[in-house]
């Protein structure tokens, strides 16, 4: 019984840490940081940070302006998603259609844990 509790708490710890990591924002708001998270529409395999296309260069100036206007990181991403679609941001959202994306590995992990639990604890 105690072992099961320890086991479950390990899993909960991991899941909670995930939450913390995703919620926490780095204090520094920079053009570089945001542009690394955006995809270039012209050179579609590169991020806006890496790309030297006209679009990417203009985009970096735009982001700089928005930061100076005082917009938050989330506001900038939302604005761009509204203009160009979710595709432009490398970080998939936590919404219904991406549910399987985020849940699948975690569910698999818990399932694997249960398999091991069975192998080790149940006679």
């Amino acid at each position: 019984m105690i072992r099961l509790i320890k086991f479950i708490s390990l899993i909960l710890f991991l899941i909670l840490s995930l939450q913390k990591l995703s919620n926490a924002n780095n204090n520094s708001l920079s053009v570089d940081k945001i542009s690394k998270n955006l995809r270039c529409l012209i050179c579609q395999g590169q991020s806006v940070y890496d790309s030297q296309s006209d679009f990417a260069i203009s985009m970096k100036i735009l982001i700089d302006n928005k930061i100076k206007e005082g917009k938050s990181e989330k506001q900038i991403y939302d604005y761009l998603k509204n203009q160009y679609g979710e595709w432009i941001v490398y970080d998939p959202e936590f919404n219904k259609k991406n549910l399987i994306l985020w849940a699948f590995p975690l569910i698999l992990f818990i399932f694997g844990g249960l398999l091991i639990y069975r192998k080790v604890f149940i006679n």
């Binding site: 529409l41 012209i42 579609q44 679009f55 260069i57 985009m59 735009l62 679609g85």
Partner: protein, 173 residues
């Protein structure tokens, strides 16, 4: 029996994966932003190419039943081809055609217009390209057909073709 069901589910699962991948092959892997029609055209302020006077896009749009905003540059090759089409449109109709000069040098832009003609009632400049981004454009040329309430009726990515022109003429009638 349990074993059989398990293997059956496994086979079905892989068949599903197979079908998805098969269908996925037909999809283009290049992304184009969805044409969001009926969105509003974002307001912007800029300077006019010749006079250097400042204009607000809203003023220009409100005063015309329809406006065609064409994003172009002198260094953009497809823009040259598109330009004659625009010239025809300006002669055939009295549609208000506004140019947005994208990341260009004033001299080059003026030279371009001298060479190929000027179909524009007004030309505003976008030296950094950020006005175009705020409009949702990402390349050159791109064209927007708007009504006087700043609603985007049609958006064209790439140079305008004769078909596009016919379509525009139909809409503005």
């Amino acid at each position: 029996m349990k074993k059989n069901i398990f293997y059956l589910i496994l086979l079905l699962f892989f068949t599903f994966i197979f079908t998805v991948f098969y269908k996925g092959l037909d999809k283009p892997n290049f992304y184009t932003p969805k044409e969001v029609n009926n969105k509003n055209f974002e307001e912007f302020t800029s300077f006019e190419l010749f006079s250097n006077k400042q204009f607000d896009s809203q003023d220009i749009i409100e005063n015309n039943k329809f406006t065609l905003v064409n994003i172009w540059s002198s260094w953009c090759v497809p823009c040259r081809q598109e330009h004659s089409v625009l010239m025809n449109l300006s002669k055939k109709t009295d549609l208000n055609i506004v140019g947005l000069n994208y990341k260009d040098k004033k001299n080059n832009a003026i030279k371009f217009l001298k060479e190929l003609g000027n179909p524009f009632s007004k030309i505003l400049i976008d030296p950094d390209g950020i006005i175009s981004i705020s409009l949702g454009a990402y390349g050159v040329p791109e064209t927007f057909l708007l009504n006087n309430k700043s609603k985007i009726i049609k958006k064209y990515i790439g140079p305008l073709t004769e078909n596009n022109i016919s379509e525009i003429i139909k809409i503005i009638k």
